[in-house]
Symmetry: C2
Subunit: 181 residues, 2 copies
C-alpha cells in the first residue's frame, strides 16, 4: 500500500466496533460471525492478526475491562480514533463507487454517533450523485454493446446496473432519515 499506516477495511471495521466500547478479541470475532457484518470477514485467522496489527500501529491498546479480574480487552486509542474518522470522512469517489461499494456502505454503517448529521448527509448526497453518474455511464456502455453480448452476460450487467440504481434510491431515502429537523 502507499500508506502502510492505513488499516484495511477489516481493520477499520474493528476500529468501528471498538469505538463503541472496548471488547475482547472473541467479542470482535463474534460480531463478525453472528451478524451480517460477517460479509466483511470470516475467520479468527484474519481477525486476530488484524487486531495485532492495529495494536502494533498504536490504533488500539490492551485494557482490563471491568474489574481487576476480568479478561483483557482492546480499546481504541486517540490515534486510532483519528484514523477511523479519516476513513469515515474520505471523499466519495467514482472509483470507490465502481469497485468498493461494500467499503462505502460499511463506512456509512459506522457514521451515526461518530460524525455530525451534516457530514452524514453530505456523504449520502455525494454517494447518490456518484451512483447516478455511474449508472448513467453503465447505461451508455450497455446501449453500445448489448446487441453483441450473449444474453446471460447482458442480463448479468443489467443486474449490476439495477444494483447501483437500488443503492441510489436507498441513498435518497436515507437522506430523509438524516434530514435537518
Amino acid at each position: 500500500m502507499s500508506d502502510p499506516q492505513h488499516p484495511t477495511t477489516l481493520g477499520c471495521a474493528i476500529l468501528g466496533l471498538l469505538s463503541a466500547r472496548a471488547q475482547t478479541g472473541y467479542e470482535i470475532a463474534r460480531a463478525f460471525a453472528d451478524t451480517p457484518m460477517g460479509t466483511y470477514s470470516s475467520s479468527p485467522g484474519a481477525i486476530y492478526p488484524a487486531i495485532k496489527r492495529l495494536k502494533t500501529a498504536g490504533f488500539v491498546e490492551s485494557v482490563r475491562a471491568g474489574g481487576e479480574s476480568s479478561k483483557a480487552a482492546f480499546a481504541i486509542t486517540k490515534k486510532g480514533k483519528r484514523i477511523f474518522l479519516d476513513w469515515l470522512r474520505a471523499p466519495v469517489t467514482r472509483a470507490a463507487v465502481a469497485r468498493d461499494m461494500r467499503d462505502l456502505m460499511l463506512r456509512f454503517a459506522f457514521m451515526s454517533g461518530a460524525l455530525p448529521d451534516a457530514a452524514i448527509r453530505r456523504f449520502l448526497v455525494d454517494l447518490k450523485a456518484e451512483l447516478e453518474a455511474h449508472v448513467k455511464s453503465l447505461d451508455a456502455y450497455m446501449r453500445g454493446v448489448r446487441a453483441q453480448m450473449p444474453p446471460s452476460a447482458a442480463l448479468a450487467l443489467d443486474a449490476g446496473i439495477e444494483n447501483y440504481r437500488a443503492h441510489a434510491r436507498w441513498a435518497h431515502k436515507a437522506l430523509a432519515a438524516f434530514a435537518a429537523p
Copy 2:
C-alpha cells in the same frame, strides 16, 4: 485452498473470456480495464500472473493466432474447459449467496452458450430461492436488533437487504428471458 488445482474467480473469468476465443494477454487485460468486468480485477499485475498460473495448470495454452507472423495468444484447453464448466455448474449455496454474490453473477454472465438453457434456468431458480431465504433470515435478524442499532447501521443493513431483494427480483425477471419456448 483445499484444491490447489482450482483457479480463483479471476482465473475463471479469464477462462470465460478465452472460451469465447483465443486472446492475447493484453486483450484480456483490456477486457478488464475497458468493461464493467473491471470490478473483478484491476491491473496487469494480477492478470498476467493469473494467466501464467492457468498455463502451468494446463488450463490454457499458447497459440499463434492468425498467420505465422501474428502475436502469441492464449487458448483454453479441454482440461480448462472442463474446470470452467465445473465452476459454472457448482451448486448455488446459501453461503455463496451470503458472501460471494459477485462470483455467482460472474458465473451467470458466462453461462450463455456454455450451458444448456435448462441448466441456466435451474441456476436462476436456485439463486432466487436462496436469495429469498437469505432475505428472510436477514429480516428476522433485523427485527430483533433494529431498536438497539445506531440509525446509520440500521440503514446500511436495510441497503444490504434491499440489495438481495433486488437480485431476487432480477432472477425472477431473468427466468422469463430463459423461459422454455
